[in-house]
Symmetry: D2
Subunit: 434 residues, 4 copies
Amino acid sequence: MIPYREQKLTEEKVFKDPIHHYIHVRDRVIWDVIGTKEFQRLRRIRQLGTTYLVFHGAEHSRFQHSLGVYEIVRRIVDDVFTGRTEWREEERLVTLCAALLHDLGHGPFSHAFENVFELDHEQYTQAILLGNTEVNEVLSRVAPDFPERVANVIEKTYRDKLVVSLISSQIDADRMDYLQRDSYYTGVSYGHFDMERILRVMRPTEEQAVIKYSGMHAVEDYIMSRYQMYWQVYFHPVSRSAEVILIKILHRARQLYQEGYIFETNPTLFIPFFKERVTVEDYVALDESVLLSSFQLWQREKDAILSDLCTRFINRRLFQYAEFDPATEYQKFGKLQKLFERAGLDPTYYLVTDSSSDLPYDFYRTGEENERIPIHLQMPDGTLQELSRKSEIVEAISGKRRTDHKIYYPEDVLRRGAETNPHYAAILQLIGEK
Amino acid sequence: MIPYREQKLTEEKVFKDPIHHYIHVRDRVIWDVIGTKEFQRLRRIRQLGTTYLVFHGAEHSRFQHSLGVYEIVRRIVDDVFTGRTEWREEERLVTLCAALLHDLGHGPFSHAFENVFELDHEQYTQAILLGNTEVNEVLSRVAPDFPERVANVIEKTYRDKLVVSLISSQIDADRMDYLQRDSYYTGVSYGHFDMERILRVMRPTEEQAVIKYSGMHAVEDYIMSRYQMYWQVYFHPVSRSAEVILIKILHRARQLYQEGYIFETNPTLFIPFFKERVTVEDYVALDESVLLSSFQLWQREKDAILSDLCTRFINRRLFQYAEFDPATEYQKFGKLQKLFERAGLDPTYYLVTDSSSDLPYDFYRTGEENERIPIHLQMPDGTLQELSRKSEIVEAISGKRRTDHKIYYPEDVLRRGAETNPHYAAILQLIGEK
Amino acid sequence: MIPYREQKLTEEKVFKDPIHHYIHVRDRVIWDVIGTKEFQRLRRIRQLGTTYLVFHGAEHSRFQHSLGVYEIVRRIVDDVFTGRTEWREEERLVTLCAALLHDLGHGPFSHAFENVFELDHEQYTQAILLGNTEVNEVLSRVAPDFPERVANVIEKTYRDKLVVSLISSQIDADRMDYLQRDSYYTGVSYGHFDMERILRVMRPTEEQAVIKYSGMHAVEDYIMSRYQMYWQVYFHPVSRSAEVILIKILHRARQLYQEGYIFETNPTLFIPFFKERVTVEDYVALDESVLLSSFQLWQREKDAILSDLCTRFINRRLFQYAEFDPATEYQKFGKLQKLFERAGLDPTYYLVTDSSSDLPYDFYRTGEENERIPIHLQMPDGTLQELSRKSEIVEAISGKRRTDHKIYYPEDVLRRGAETNPHYAAILQLIGEK
Amino acid sequence: MIPYREQKLTEEKVFKDPIHHYIHVRDRVIWDVIGTKEFQRLRRIRQLGTTYLVFHGAEHSRFQHSLGVYEIVRRIVDDVFTGRTEWREEERLVTLCAALLHDLGHGPFSHAFENVFELDHEQYTQAILLGNTEVNEVLSRVAPDFPERVANVIEKTYRDKLVVSLISSQIDADRMDYLQRDSYYTGVSYGHFDMERILRVMRPTEEQAVIKYSGMHAVEDYIMSRYQMYWQVYFHPVSRSAEVILIKILHRARQLYQEGYIFETNPTLFIPFFKERVTVEDYVALDESVLLSSFQLWQREKDAILSDLCTRFINRRLFQYAEFDPATEYQKFGKLQKLFERAGLDPTYYLVTDSSSDLPYDFYRTGEENERIPIHLQMPDGTLQELSRKSEIVEAISGKRRTDHKIYYPEDVLRRGAETNPHYAAILQLIGEK
């Protein structure tokens, strides 16, 4: 009998996909992984969190992104790498599984959620892969150590660095899928680059996937796309405003629970998080529908802050924002906090700072654990060169961190009350001062 | 002071949209309507219900579709009709509002939900427009009878038939938006037609918007697109399978509640529906996140049927389907029901028939209330001709109703148990017989 | 040493193509064929003849279309058919060459040119393939009978009917490429269909390539696209007007030459055609640049008719058209001819009838030699069914020939002179009568 | 009676365009200009010269590009600028005409042609506008000085700098059209940017059109698109190789003529150029069909160099290229020249250097006449800032001239003869040395 790891479906299955046209599945293992409840859960986690409140098209889930990353890796491996000596065919299945499962541990509104509950989606990816789960059951059928191998690829400790680089590097399948997918669903003009070309010029080496020099311009375009998407979409201040409110809702609810507050409807699925004792099962039971329906109910809670914040989120009555330079304006911020208190607005919830920061491309950052692998070009003579040494454009932007600081506050309330409440007027005036 | 109905925003607001590029808002009324909680709720209702379980891209909401319909109508009215004698400029605002709000009363997973609770989204649209709601408050500021005028356009009783035809006819803005939008998000190749051309050749008449004869081919293409979308996307049997399960979940939950069953977590937001006493406020509190998170919880219920059906929906373990001709196979169906009972599978929940039916285009159907207005061509000499009289293609398909009947059943359970359970084997055999 | 027919390029060559993204060449034979002067000549023949005078984007050549047909066939053969028992791998190279070379014999402004000189591009394709040409030299290196085998596929007499059907049937690679390509370059909204899907469901049989039943809707869409393209683009009356003038120029020039007229500049490359003794070498020396530059010069000729017609073509001063029903209006046409003569306008050149006719799809037409092979569906049980028996839409339009008759005439001259010339006025009046 | 300059067509005319969807013409003047023979001639001049020999899709003409530039300017003027105080409505018509006619003087294969005959297309644009031409006749009907005003805009001496900036600046309608159009027709992934967004944020000022700060990212994307298009498409070495051959053909033909060589067929239309006495009429009689058909004939000439070069161009047997650094390799070049002479290959025609150079964006270049106007951002406080002061990316690449030097030579001949001809072998070896 054919071993499970080599079994093929009798007929190839396809998923219609707007980005890759079709996603092709022939391996039985892949088909079974997609059918697990932990993978299906990704249908209920949006790829871009609160961004849909700014770009209404951005309602797409991590489910489709995960399939997209799988498809890109499948094409690299089956169409480009296969038959080349640097590529070890026996790594194929672990690579495909890692591609498909790299986001498995993402929680609902991932960044906000992790921020509040001090969780790390990467740890949960590991926990789900290795725990008592359907996905673990499927992967274990390949080989007892197979779940761990998949987990190692995702946490970048896998022995075969080439495999890791396909999932996590500065030009990995993850980034190539999300740039195109997020561009498509938001409808922005950015995020396009010639992925076909990049795939065609990718070459395996011992350490990582590299790009033939003749494809350098396609890579430049990809780097620029990424830069534009960050500032136009991912760091959009209105989306950050929604995230700020989300964070404050979760903060408030936990605090109330811990102080013994009795909710009208028992927040069953949240309790493990409030108690800070979360099992894998608790974790995967949470998704964005649970958060949204809870906020729906919490609008009716007696606690004015929780109720107000939930109403804001559900009905999209977000905070306004203003530029804020922490290096020079910390005193102004202190004054604002006092004014908020005097005005009866709790600054913990109603005066929030938030920063975004991006490094468009970097070849080397010492001391940063999360560093992704830099891009190398394979020159006509076979030597490798780090991208920014050959590309003037990339060199120009390389290592230039750009940061954006803002404060968020309920301008609607302040403006409506400014005529009668002098504190409100004072706050608005101070914020407006340069 | 400028009356509210004529107020313009100081700067035009735009929404980035993948279908129309940008959606433009200059009227203050429109901006305020978009900001109401009843309109924002449409963000939490998917445009295509369960279709995302087949076409993973189809996660888009009715919110964006509603903006799209508004934008199409705005372009017709402001770019094409304005200045023509048949068009009365004073109908502009009511037309735009009706376009924006035509889907306001849709519930979560609309068709399934309405089916079970015997509700009608059109009635709820009326109720929300005329009830004690934010949207009513905004519209009333235009004029006391304005909410009713908007409601009349949507229910097709408005005195100005031209206005009605823009929202509800065989070539209305609703259809033009959803065909393109659903095509874009599913990623299918169907659903394209030259809307720019159609808009350019639309002309106002007393009774309806008509199409200049020179644009007939663009309309043919639109009709064919619609036909293809119905059979490729809207009636996809796997999506119908998910809908069948959804219907059965809601049935079961109501039945249990009415029989006095105690749920682990109180289904607060469902209770008015189970009691069949639903206020407007109850109605708008329900959205798809509430359904999904309830199903999440109901997986843990003691009732085996409810728990199983919810697990099926959440983890996408859908029913299999088979062709079924009710005209000739009713006896076979009776036999199957008995076999299911003997096998311990309640046929009420596990053996379900479902039919889809579409009329690609019809010029006249007597006695059908919901009939949409047929398409008329404006000939070079100014006379009007019904489309199917001039177009061979449309004539060929006109009035041809196509219907598709299927039965749905849990093949997974049957197949797993077939070796040990002779009833299961018998069921599978009977279904397989021609 | 590897035989020529099996030689591969050391590195795959690609052509960037807007329709297929990239066109891939790995076979040395294909690469060499593309480099021959007879194939390169197709760069100087427009795919859509005079259509660029209506749709200014339609300036694309038969060169790129030929590459496109090759690429589609390559994908069918290498990605879909390979490994299936009905497909004989040894037919691969002849199939690819026939795909690439199927339009090799097209002359400049093909239809007009063939019409006037009573040539047949299919005969010239044969002549070039089998004559003393570069392309023959390359193909002969594969095997002495290889040029003839390629020729047989193109003229549909090849023994392997499956191979023929890929190049010439109602759903062949030729049509699939040109519909998409012509749509792209004209910029019209028609002409889209899901080719990816069609390729995926194509299956080889003894007699022809067939389509799995599950792909029927994609085929319906393709048939409708074809129908729309014919009436919107290919039969556009303004493009036909340009073609009418082109035909009359060539007529006039030949007539003048045969009557002994001395041209200002010797029409070197035309002389074999005027003398009706055309060698293969003469034929391939003619391309659209030769025609256009000759018309440029002939504007300066003394012959008023030749000069006027050339000026019309070069400066796009085309004839106007009117509907004309030959069945009922032949007497009116006779009157018009007399009026033209009296008005001093030679009706041979200035009053021209032209008809277009299309059969959107036909399953069987007895007695028509040029009949293409009908489309067959492969049902789930393996049997074949002709498309129109399963598809209501195709059945509805099947066999419905649509014909459009028009007369063309120099309205500009008539209108400018109508006030002073009563014959002109009479002509205009008679044309305007119904 | 309505003055000519204000006459509107009774029905708007449209041209279907793949880039702008439709090009709209309502002004009678514009319609008449498009109908002139000088404008229609642009149909016979390719937008990208020899590029179609590399990117086979790039067969599009300057005719469609000119319409595209017109359409962009029309939209800026009619949709964005109209009603703003800085914009003078009376400049509308001259602006539209200048947009439409800015490329009027381009010759066939413009760069090569101008290079050889020492002509300047800008001078010919002036000459055609002001000479005894159809286009002059139409423009003069607007006002006697109108042709001169249009000419002044195109030569950048017009009094209203805002008008000039729409046609010639670093972000003018010319560039916005060609980047998108060339990208579309070549099929490359570069060249996309959000023109809709840029048009929406364009604002008129006294001196030039500026961009609102909120649109800076769209402008960055445009600059990067331009950079990529230059290096991926416009400076493609194979296209330059074809241009090199073209230049050498024209050189040779002129030299032969001037030396008294008798051509087989009289090169009628070239003679004024060979004699260096070119009238406007001579100039507009030349187009790419004339060049190509002449090369067709010249393949048969006795002169071996002319015949060989023409055969190379017609059949796409281009020169190979190698990197060449003039600063360090001038001695090697001298040696190569001598080797070529010894080998019997005239280095004037068979060993050619060529350089490409681009400045992606520059804010200021003193002393360069052809300098285009830099881009200015309009800050929220109304002040203007030069783009590179606000954009890190643009600043990074600003003023960085990139140059690429190559030598071109007939590698095919050298390689075929290398075994028997030691000079050939020596040449190849020397070129290959680093």
